[in-house]
């Protein structure tokens, strides 16, 4: 059990790191892009705009901490 937990923790740290909100923001941005595309809007521009917002919010959180 401890090894499974350690394995999960390793991958969490590896991919998500110390700001889970940034990872959640990426997931949300991808989902909204997919929904807009499914609705007929080619929303290629949404990812770069979202990435800029996610990065800045994450940086501000780190700077405030």
């Amino acid at each position: 059990m401890r090894r499974i937990r350690a394995f999960g923790q390793f991958w969490w740290d590896f991919v998500v790191g110390d700001d889970w909100r940034a990872a959640a923001g990426i997931l949300l941005a991808i989902s909204v892009t997919a929904a807009l595309v499914a609705g007929g809007l080619d929303a290629w521009w949404l990812m770069p705009v979202s990435v800029a917002a996610i990065l800045w919010l994450s940086l501000r959180r780190a700077a405030d901490a």
Partner: protein, 244 residues
């Protein structure tokens, strides 16, 4: 252009990781003996080769859109971590990565550790080297496999990583000291920007969107990410001065 991006990204990312792995192998070799350290290095290399050999062909079986969506999302999360740390370092909110300080810390810990012999090896030296190389190598394997598979060329990504490995290994053997003159923080900034660029591009494509000009839009995405990063450094520096 995409080929050059692919090789350059794999090279830079791998070089950064190999420099970190070299520091650990050197610290282990000098304090605990070269036999244990190099055996740990060899064992980790075999483990990494096995992981790449199993995962590489498996990734090529996944449909490209699904692969780009998943890999794009993961790369973006991974790339933003690098970029975030690099921006915080450049703006003075985080101390710069210092290989000499890490080397001093690793050697002090290795000297203090008790001697325990297993299979004819100093176990601390072996595990220090094995874990260090495996963990740093996993990041290289992840980048090479994801970049290579989504762009349809694992060998090209592996070429970038291979050049970095040879370069770091040759310089490491020649100087036998941590590579403190490598501009590691600048390289990490560049790698973070490239990972974020590819992640943004593939995540949008995987979600079904089409970039204007397809692959030709990659340099523009990179320019956007770089501009955004430099602006963030400038804003954070001003913010730090305002609160100082």
């Amino acid at each position: 252009m995409t080929t050059a991006f692919l090789v350059a990204s794999a090279f830079l990312a791998s070089a950064v990781e190999f420099v970190e792995a070299l520091t650990i192998v050197l610290a282990s070799g000098i304090t605990r003996g070269w036999r244990s350290s190099l055996t740990g290095l060899a064992a980790a290399t075999v483990a990494l080769a096995a992981i790449v050999a199993v995962l590489g062909p498996a990734l090529t079986l996944i449909p490209i859109d699904v692969l780009r969506l998943v890999v794009g999302g993961i790369l973006l999360a991974f790339g933003l971590q690098w970029l975030r740390k690099a921006i915080l370092r450049a703006s003075g909110y985080k101390s710069l990565h210092d290989e000499a300080a890490i080397y001093a810390e690793e050697t002090a810990e290795a000297r203090a550790a008790a001697h325990e012999e297993r299979a004819g090896l100093d176990w601390y030296g072996f595990t220090l080297s094995f874990k260090g190389v495996l963990l740093e190598g996993l990041e290289v394997a992840f980048i090479v496999l994801t970049f290579g598979s989504t762009q349809g060329s694992i060998p090209l990504a592996a070429l970038g990583a291979g050049i970095a490995l040879v370069l770091v290994a040759v310089v490491g053997v020649l100087v036998r000291a941590p590579l403190t003159r490598v501009p590691e923080n600048t390289m990490k900034f560049a790698v973070g920007a490239m990972l974020t660029t590819f992640g943004t591009f593939w995540a949008a494509e995987g979600a079904g969107a089409h970039w204007p000009g397809d692959d030709a839009s990659l340099p523009f995405v990179l320019a956007f990410v770089v501009a955004m990063s430099f602006s963030s450094v400038g804003l954070l520096k001003r913010r730090r001065l305002a609160f100082a």
